[in-house]
């Protein structure tokens, strides 16, 4: 019964009525059965991992003096790290994200980013958030401070759809700020070429960041239901194109599916995780995909 109630609550249109992103995030996370996952990086926590020989330059605080007393050798004690991963959430707020009904892509993306932020802080990871369209509008550097989640949610609450998209420029400007290795999660409708996407993400991957892309889409843009000739106006450029419904039901769908496939392939090439999220999908699937992604990276 609890699961069923939780699943119902995870539907986007239900979440939209909750209003507060904090409440939405808690609802989603609590609705999904979660387990703690291991950090892919070793740190200095309570859970023991292994011993290794002391090398010059190691911090003497981590020398196991009991072993030294018994064996007269110096060993450094290593632990399984849990809270020392930096998670940076990149949210696309371009004008095209404003499309979708009854829940727009931006709304769904906000729910998702809030949920991921909440999960991140629940695991005591550092949380960073960046909001971009043609350029980076806001950036909160990864932080493990207790108020990191609150600040991130406050930023998300005041986020609205902007103008165009330039993911290459936006990520280039962020690259300098993300010196610490960690997870970079991009939430966008990815209206960009696959090559451009590779060019934007590859430097991050090379810098040791683990990448995950959440491709947010509305069913109406995947399979438009228009049945009459219409003038479709681009939300970002204001260009108007008169389109025959026959094309929308044929050629357009093929083109769009090819675009999605290209994006997915590009992600695979740079080792990034790709997850498609529809505005009509409950968020538990996306959250579980994220957790699986963390698990994989943890191994």
């Amino acid at each position: 019964m609890t699961t069923r109630v939780a699943n119902r609550l995870l539907k986007p249109e239900v979440l939209a009525r909750l209003g507060s992103l904090d409440l939405i995030a808690r609802t989603v996370v609590d609705g999904v059965t979660t387990g703690l996952h291991r950090s892919p990086h070793f740190g200095f926590s309570q859970e023991f991992a292994e011993y290794r020989a002391y090398n010059e330059g190691d911090d003497l605080r981590y020398v196991d003096w009991n072993v030294y007393a018994r064996t007269d050798r110096t060993y450094i004690k290593r632990f399984q790290g849990e809270t020392n991963t930096a998670v940076t959430l990149l949210l696309d707020t371009s004008a095209s994200m404003g499309f979708g009904s009854p829940v727009s892509k931006l709304d769904q993306a906000l729910f998702l980013v809030a949920t991921l932020a909440y999960t991140t802080r629940k695991q005591h990871d550092s949380l960073g958030v960046a909001v971009f369209d043609e350029r980076v509008q806001h950036f909160l550097a990864p932080s493990a401070r207790p108020d990191a989640l609150v600040r991130a949610l406050a930023l998300l609450e005041n986020t609205h759809a902007g103008s165009g998209t330039d993911i290459l420029d936006a990520l280039s400007s962020l690259r300098a700020s993300m010196t610490r290795r960690g997870l970079v999660i991009v939430v966008s409708d990815l209206y960009t070429d696959a090559d451009e996407l590779i060019a934007a993400l590859q430097p991050l991957a090379h810098a040791g960041q683990d990448l995950a892309l959440f491709h947010v889409l509305d069913p109406e843009e995947i399979e438009p239901s228009l049945t009459r000739i219409s003038a479709l106006r681009d939300l970002e450029t204001d260009d108007t194109v008169i389109v025959d419904p026959a094309f929308l039901q044929g050629g357009y769908r093929t083109k769009f599916a090819m675009h999605c496939a290209n994006v997915q392939q590009a992600c695979r090439r740079i080792g990034a995780d790709y997850t498609q999220v529809l505005t009509t999908d409950p968020l538990d699937a996306a959250l579980q995909a994220y957790l699986r992604f963390r698990e994989r990276r943890g191994r």
Binding site: R228, A231, D234, I242, D244, Y252, H259
Partner: protein, 688 residues
């Protein structure tokens, strides 16, 4: 095919609307937002032949529906194929039986013309013969035995009543509505101007399809109507007043000429005197009036009178002939067109004031009140007032009216007065209480406020200006009290209290000249006379009535007609009822109070033989014809063309209206259009 309302074809201008809608829709596809046009290929709106046909069929349906709508409003009709066969008609032939038809040759002409008319009617048509004056009577119809109409026509005679064309037309309209066949009305009449209704619209009978006015006027006729009254004040000297009214009719030729001459120049009111007088003005004629009694000539005088004039002749040097209730005969010596109104018989009436008893039973009654009431009632010898001390049981047995002062705050009001009134008598009760305060005059005076003008007392005719009420005594009203007069502060002054029989009026004033100035004003005399008239009307029998009127009779009376034959059966005379007086002359009413002579006189208007103006008759006739009628000045006789067309469509069996077929066709087309427009969502009803 003909159209009843071709102007509705202007609606065809709306045909451009669907064309514009369809054209507009092709040029302006609906704009919608889309996240990105990156993967969209611009498309020229496909203009395939199939799609054009689909739009055109929808457009054609819409245009067709508009055309049908216009046709439906225009109401097309066809003449039936069997139009060559004359349709059956119902004919109503109505003959004027009013008194004016007694004028020389009029009745004979009416009978001859009616007979000729009946002979010419198709044998397939049905006919009903009516007589009329101010009402209509069916005399015979073709449904009766063969020859019944002819026999009925020969037995018809003119009466003494006056005609009323408006009432007659409406009554005949009701009769015409009873027939499914088209009705043609023939009105055989002398076209008397005095018979026209006040509202000329009453002449229009919408149920009558055709109308023809048949005139019986063949030559100009001159007539003098004589009315007279005789009175004696002292029982010796006699005064006879004679009133002569002259009129002259025009024949058809004269009236046509008159109409043709005056029509373009004048827009005068139809029926106005100056029209006929201007063309028929003739020299005054000499008439001799004689007054006789028991075949003995008392006096005679000759005077001149011209048509359209009123002449009054007074004989005041006569001595009342000997004998009880002498009857005088006043007659014209010369013959004129209408002999029946040339002589009248008169009963000499003595000017006896009405007896009124003034009861002084209450010691509180102001002494001034008796003086004021007596003075007002006896002004012009209107009444003779006798003062009686005591209550109403002390008044003489034949007393019908009393005036008394009582304490109006008593409940019930004085019982003896109520008993007196319940016996069928009348009473005026005024307030007898003394003034409550000496400084009454210091109070703000109130004037007369609401006056009940619908009451027979006709209080609205009295000039209440200057009447002031300073101290109106409080008065408790009971249910059904009718306030006839009150002050501006709604204090009741004159009240009529409902009683079983008789009449009881309450005057809420002490009549002392202090509480109000009412008894000091001339209006008080008028009020007292009006009250007395009102009282008298409930008990007195009339002395003169118009022929044709109904006389209301109490029980246990007998009425002798002018020929001294009893008019009531034994059974009818035992109960109250009414009697219509159909003949002029002297009637004698014999009852418990003795004999009463009632004079039934002829209607002066009916003796006026002036005929209708030709323009009025043409306009009257034209309401049923499809001709343009010149404005007669009243404007009311013009029938709107739309009414005539509707009338024609509703009743003319020779016309085949198409709306029965057009309406279902329109509905089918609209359903088809709706189905086609909604079958595919891209072809919507708005054409987009």
């Amino acid at each position: 095919m003909s159209l009843l309302f071709p102007l509705y074809f202007l609606g065809m201008l709306g045909l451009g609307l669907p064309w514009l809608l369809h054209r507009f829709s092709d040029q302006q596809p609906e704009e919608k937002l889309f996240p990105s046009t990156r993967f969209l290929d611009a498309t020229t709106p496909p203009v395939s032949r199939k799609r054009r046909l689909k739009y055109l069929s929808l457009l054609a349906l819409r245009v067709l529906s508009l055309v049908l709508l216009c046709f439906l409003f225009a109401q097309p009709w066809f003449a039936r194929q069997d139009q060559a066969v004359p349709a059956r008609q119902h004919h109503i032939v109505a003959i004027d039986q009013s008194m004016s038809m007694r004028a020389t040759q009029r009745w004979d002409s009416a009978v001859d013309q009616t007979q000729a008319l009946l002979d010419e009617l198709p044998s397939t048509d049905s006919v009903a013969l009516f007589g009329f004056d101010n009402t209509v009577r069916q005399v015979a119809s073709s449904d009766d035995q063969p020859g019944a109409i002819g026999r009925a026509l020969s037995s018809m005679q003119p009466g003494y009543s006056s005609a009323d064309y408006g009432r007659v037309m409406q009554l005949l309209n009701t009769r015409a509505a009873e027939h499914e066949l088209p009705v043609k009305l023939w009105l055989v009449t002398d076209q008397q101007r005095s018979s026209l209704p006040a509202q000329l619209n009453a002449l229009y009978a919408p149920q009558v399809n055709e109308f023809e006015l048949v005139s019986v006027i063949e030559q100009p006729q001159f007539n003098v109507h004589l009315a007279a009254a005789a009175q004696t004040e002292d029982g010796v000297n006699l005064r006879v007043s004679v009133q002569l009214t002259a009129s002259q009719s025009m024949d058809s030729a004269d009236s046509n000429a008159a109409a043709d001459e005056s029509a373009p120049a004048t827009q005068a009111q139809p029926g106005a005197n100056d029209e006929s007088v201007s063309v028929t003005e003739q020299a005054a004629r000499e008439v001799t009036i004689s007054v006789t009694s028991a075949d003995q000539l008392l006096t005679q005088r000759t005077t001149l009178i011209a048509p359209g004039n009123l002449e009054t002749v007074i004989f005041d040097e006569l001595i009342l002939p000997a004998g009880e209730n002498p009857v005088l005969r006043v007659a014209l010596q010369q013959q004129d067109a209408l002999a029946i109104d040339n002589a009248v018989e008169l009963v000499v009436t003595q000017a006896n004031p009405t007896p009124v008893q003034l009861l002084q039973s209450d010691r509180d009654t102001s002494a001034n009140a008796a003086v004021f009431v007596t003075t007002a009632l006896e002004t012009d010898d209107y009444a003779s007032v006798s003062v009686v001390t005591g209550n109403s049981e002390q008044v003489p047995p034949d007393t019908a009216h009393i005036v008394t002062g009582r304490d109006l705050s008593a409940d019930p009001l004085a019982l003896d007065v109520l008993q007196f009134v319940d016996a069928g008598n009348n009473a005026l009760v005024f307030d007898s209480r003394l003034s409550r305060s000496n400084d009454a005059a210091a109070r703000a005076p109130r004037e007369v406020g609401l006056v009940d003008q619908t009451h027979p007392l006709a209080l609205g005719d009295i000039d209440w200006f200057g009447i002031r009420f300073y101290d109106v005594p409080p008065l408790s009203l009971i249910d059904n009290d009718r306030i006839l007069l009150e002050t501006t502060e709604r204090e009741p002054i004159l009240i009529e209290r409902q009683v079983e029989r008789g009449r009881l009026l309450i005057l809420n004033d002490r009549l002392d000249g202090r509480g109000s100035n009412l008894p000091l004003q001339p209006a008080f005399v008028s009020l007292m006379h009006a009250l007395l008239n009102y009282f008298d009307a409930s008990t007195a029998l009339p002395t003169s009535m118009l022929v044709g009127e109904r006389l209301t009779l109490p029980a246990n009376v007998q009425v002798l007609g002018p020929d001294e034959e009893p008019l009531l059966t034994l059974d009818a005379s035992g109960r109250s009822g009414s009697l219509q007086l159909l003949q002029p002359g002297l009637y004698t009413i014999i009852g418990l109070r003795g004999e009463h002579v009632l004079r039934v006189i002829l209607d002066t208007n009916e003796s006026d033989l002036t005929t209708l103006d030709e323009r009025v008759t043409r306009a009257w006739q034209a309401r049923y014809d499809d001709v343009t009628v010149p404005d007669t000045g009243s404007g009311s006789l013009k029938l709107p063309a739309i009414d005539k067309r509707l009338l024609a469509q509703g009743n003319d069996n020779n016309r085949l209206s198409l709306w029965q077929w057009l309406l279902p066709a329109l509905i089918m087309i609209l359903i088809l259009e709706s189905w086609l427009a909604n079958r595919r969502l891209d072809v919507r009803r708005d054409g987009s």
